[in-house]
């Protein structure tokens, strides 16, 4: 799927001063309702805390309510503290009957506990594909 995005290089730091990172919202098109959607997240991550609470969250919502809230904790991609680790996360969004129809997916960097940690994200690429 393609969407209009701001192209460029963005560095995003989350710490005690800013718990939330950049946000991107994808508005579903008509054809997106036919098939399940696969999310492929790639980028770089860096942290100074071994049990990092840093994550990229994805929220399925319609115009009035949040339907499902989930996320990918990125700790497992940090091989060495304070060094960049490259990651690729693949998530299949399978529609549950109880979910109802969502019209948008919101992505956002989030630091769960910002008191002890500095969590950096860079070069994040969000790819959404319809699959069978």
């Amino acid at each position: 799927m393609e969407d209009t995005v701001i192209k460029g290089h963005y560095f995003n730091r989350m710490d005690s001063g800013s718990q939330y990172g950049f946000k991107y919202v994808y508005h579903l098109k008509n054809e997106d309702f036919e098939k399940p959607i696969r999310l492929i997240l790639t980028g770089k991550v860096r942290t100074n805390f071994v049990h990092s609470t840093g994550a990229i969250t994805y929220v399925h919502a319609d115009s009035i309510k949040v339907i499902n809230w989930d996320g990918s904790n990125l700790t497992k991609h940090v091989s060495d503290l304070n060094k960049w680790g490259y990651f690729k996360e693949v998530v299949n969004f399978k529609r549950s009957d109880s979910w109802g129809r969502y019209t948008r997916i919101e992505f956002q960097g989030l630091l769960g506990d910002p008191r002890y940690e500095v969590f950096d994200l860079d070069s994040i690429r969000i790819k959404l594909i319809r699959f069978d």
Partner: protein, 511 residues
């Protein structure tokens, strides 16, 4: 000119083209290089651990070892470790890569399937599509597919059992000493690798008894085998049983003298309440993992058709199928409790399904000869649409089992996958005994980071953990949650002993 007549190539080309297409459609090849993951990773890591220990510790075939070295230096009793030993040889020759293990298991089931396909060709007078369709009908089970390239020996046992049946029926039809030796070897190996497949030998011995009683007297000679041959097969069967029993007695002895890594005892259900628990779980979780809905419809239809046209059913195929089904039912009774959580217990008894397909292939060929050749053609069309649905069900199940979220929900051992090189760079060898917490499995983390030692989980008592930490044998401690450790051992000084960190893991030097 071709050295082999082109006609002889049709069957293998058709079979392997269809198989490769099928595996490719599933995304099967992408999983070949994966480390043990997804459902029943615990059991898979145990088997993989045996192979790695052969390669790294000792190639003595009769002393299989696991990474858990706390008891008996890791030596454990288990099923015949052929499936572990062959990959270990590959590790020695080409270096460690789990693709050899997965590849060997895959090779054995492909061999079994191919020989079963050849058996069907023999029975159906080279009806390629009918043989292919019925082989597929037996194989298109989500469980069989998932474990086809796993680390479990069950699938190898099934492959060997199918090979044994091919050689047995070929021997019945054409004779030949070599064919018999092949039958015996595969039958014994199948039983050694997984005891359930002893059914092959037991069923053949029952067939011999029935032959003695002239049960097959509608055959050309009146008997299936000459008296002398019958005795030879019978004695060979006894010898096979002795070989198999010897190994399992030895395995029991290993377990009692060293450590118990594998269950080698029957676990039947002894009351109705437990029966309902297992039965409900099978209905809820495993029913459509064994075979798809369409698969069940097909097999029920086959049984109904065989019932209706009973006089056209070959006695030998029928009795072999019936005895295998009865034997499988005995196995289910003996191990019924295991069926609650273990989908793979169905693998070795699915030989019955293949034999049912064989009986039906022969039945169809007979009625085609008697009535019309259109009948198999009509059945092939039905079979095509039926197996198509089964293939879709297999893909759905296979995708679910390797879905990243599902894999991580079952137990996230990803951080351990590439920890070993880091440990070696720090001068930590695999024989530096290591404690691993908090790992609820048998030896997943120890195997994946290739460290000999012991693990503990959330339910291990504080005393036990303290005892292990004070044990001078253990040099390192790997923990995936330091908060849990601090709760278990409050006021510890581990923060001063950190050697390194890795993907959320903390590695401490104990002494």
């Amino acid at each position: 000119m071709f050295p082999i007549p082109l006609k002889n190539l049709i069957a293998p080309v058709l079979f392997f083209t269809a198989l490769i297409w099928f595996y490719n459609y599933l995304g099967f090849f992408e999983t070949m290089q994966m480390r043990p993951s997804s459902i029943h990773m615990w059991a898979q890591c145990e088997r993989a651990s045996i192979a790695l220990n052969y390669a790294e510790t000792d190639m003595n075939f009769f002393l299989p070892r696991i990474h858990k070295f706390n008891q008996g230096d890791g030596i454990t009793g288990m099923e015949f470790p052929l499936v572990n030993y062959v990959p270990a040889i590959c590790y020695k020759l080409f270096g460690f890569n789990e693709i050899y293990f997965r590849g060997f298991v895959l090779l054995t089931i492909v061999l079994g399937l191919y020989l079963f396909y050849k058996l069907l060709l023999m029975v159906t007078d080279n009806n390629y599509f009918l043989s292919l369709g019925l082989t597929g009908a037996g194989y298109f089970s989500p469980v069989l597919i998932y474990y086809s390239n796993s680390f479990m020996p069950d699938i190898t046992s099934l492959g060997f059992a199918l090979a044994a049946w091919y050689f047995f029926f070929k021997f019945v039809k054409k004779g030949g000493r070599k064919t018999f030796y092949f039958f015996w070897t595969f039958a014994v190996l199948a039983a050694l690798v997984k005891i359930t497949s002893l059914l092959v030998i037991l069923v053949v011995m029952c067939v011999l008894v029935l032959d003695q009683l002239k049960f097959f007297n509608n055959q050309e000679k009146g008997f299936l085998f000459e008296r002398r041959v019958r005795w030879k097969i019978f004695l060979a069967g006894i010898a096979g049983i002795i070989v198999v029993a010897s190994w399992y007695l030895y395995a029991r002895w290993l377990s009692s003298h060293y450590s118990e890594g594998f269950a080698l005892v029957a676990v039947p259900v002894d009351n109705l309440e437990n029966f309902h628990i297992v039965w409900n779980e099978i209905k809820r979780s495993h029913r459509y993992e064994y075979y798809s809905y369409e698969g069940y419809i097909l097999f029920m239809s086959i049984i109904a058709l065989l019932g209706v046209g009973f006089k056209f059913v070959n006695r030998l195929y029928f009795i072999v199928t019936l005895l295998t089904v009865l034997g499988s039912m005995c196995f289910v009774y003996l191990m019924f409790w295991q069926f609650k959580d273990h989908d793979y217990y169905i693998i070795t008894i699915s030989t019955s399904v293949f034999l049912l397909c064989l009986t039906f292939a022969d039945f169809l060929t007979r009625i085609a000869f008697r009535f019309s050749k259109v009948i198999p053609f009509v059945f092939i069309v039905i079979l095509f649409f039926n197996t198509k649905e089964s293939i879709v069900a297999c893909k759905k199940d296979f995708s679910k089992r390797y879905d990243p979220k599902y894999v991580s929900w079952l137990g996230d051992f990803l951080p351990y996958h590439d920890l070993e090189p880091k440990l070696r760079r720090l001068g930590i060898s695999r024989t530096d005994y290591t404690l691993s917490g908090f790992d609820w499995s048998f030896c997943n983390s120890l195997y994946l980071m290739d460290q000999l030692g012991e693990n503990f989980d959330d339910y291990t008592s504080e005393e036990k953990i303290k005892q292990m930490l004070n044990d001078p044998r253990y040099k390192y401690l790997v923990v995936n949650d330091s908060a849990k450790l601090n709760k278990k051992i409050p006021g510890n000084d581990f923060s001063q002993k950190i050697v390194t960190t890795h993907r959320g893991l903390l590695i401490y030097k104990l002494r």
